[in-house]
Symmetry: C2
Amino acid sequence: MLDDLVLPADGGAPALAAVLARAILSGQLPAGSDFPREKDLCDRFAVSRNRVRNALASLAATGLVERTAGRGSRVREITGWHLLDPLMSDWLTGLARPDPRLVREIYAFRLSAEPQVAELAALAADGRDLARLEAAFAGMRDTAGTGMHQQHAEHDVAFHDAVYQASHNLVWRQMGHLLRPSIIALIQHSQHQAASLEDSLERHRRVMEAIRLRQPQAARRAARAVLERTATDLGLIPTPTSHTEGHPA
Amino acid sequence: MLDDLVLPADGGAPALAAVLARAILSGQLPAGSDFPREKDLCDRFAVSRNRVRNALASLAATGLVERTAGRGSRVREITGWHLLDPLMSDWLTGLARPDPRLVREIYAFRLSAEPQVAELAALAADGRDLARLEAAFAGMRDTAGTGMHQQHAEHDVAFHDAVYQASHNLVWRQMGHLLRPSIIALIQHSQHQAASLEDSLERHRRVMEAIRLRQPQAARRAARAVLERTATDLGLIPTPTSHTEGHPA
DNA sequence: ATAGTAGTTAATGTCAGACATTTTGCAAGG
DNA sequence: CCTTGCAAAATGTCTGACATTAACTACTAT
């Protein structure tokens, strides 16, 4: 079941948790199925029961598995996973083939949330927020089209995270964690054409400018435009920009 | 430091974590201060080091404390707390006097997020979602003005949670956890006038109707109206309904 | 006198083994 | 057929020892 998994040289408790979590996140283990017993995991990875228990505790804390005394551990439904837990973001990041449902769901969330966040950012951003935005944008610009995909993605993450930070709300700020796996997935699945990159950069610039000039509505529209660009790069169907939706009776 | 805390009769590991967490969440321990050592906690609560370590692991997982080998545990800044962790919601619920910053921040988040969620719900709700909404609304109606504040609050939570569920998005659904502490706080701090209750009920009904009739914009406005009602009940400054915000140049 | 370094102390992290508790399945008996 | 009781298997807990890390201290060399 977990035969082809390898524990990194480090081998610490978090490393073991990451290995086990990715086995679930990549969809290898169906929901509702039994997770291996503690003893088997001890043998399989040659670690103490203590480490195994700590790793399993993390998996339970993030809702990936459900543990009950005397019964064992079971893989939980995807609806029970705590996608907003920072641990989950770490595990999802660098996952070769994440469950496609997760990519879609996270993107759909960002599409509905980030315009609002950008609007708040335009109302609340201070000097340091703008400095972060500018630094991230400069990084994106300088790494565009140079083959430094990894660095470009990191600056991309930093840019969007700066927007969440600029909202100056404790809850929105937590959600910056979702960005890394979402943006990394974008790199893996799309080969950023040069023209696409140029266009994406320009859309990011407009978000930054709207926030700097304290124009909430412009920031909202610009953030939406960035995400529509992302949708096409991800191969998702771009929504038809239904801005002028009629007010119902 | 933790002298007046009592461990419930149950005394399980989660109970200990809850006691310690609430000591932090209520603001008794300043950010950056040293958290008691494991040994001291063992003596103070007369439990094994194992339980203490499990409890502390939960506190670390939710970002309440930061642990480092050889150094000890420190209380983290409020900005590091994982407010979206279900454990956090449990701990916040039933807390007599939560940190007022948290109440404000969570309310501000809901004000900016729930209209969007309601809009999504109006687009995606199915039969079961509507059934949940109706059941929760009926519960609210039947417990209004009867002195059954606790039950009314539970139905209130169920109503808003049903809206998040109806969005049919994995990420938004997670955030239903924020509702319970937010709504419980509302009960503690306001003595729901009869007129206020009637008004609140009517505003909830409009949200439900808009979702049922698949009117996204109406749902958005109705959700906002509910939260503005909540703001006045909480004693927060109601925002001046800036709907017709001019589009900046 | 100061910078660097080795040793000491104190805290968390890990290991190993035994025992407690809960769940499940089976099997005998009503 | 249902119930009761027992046994097996899994997770939960306790205990004591040791490992590892970080901060402090005293000492030494420049």
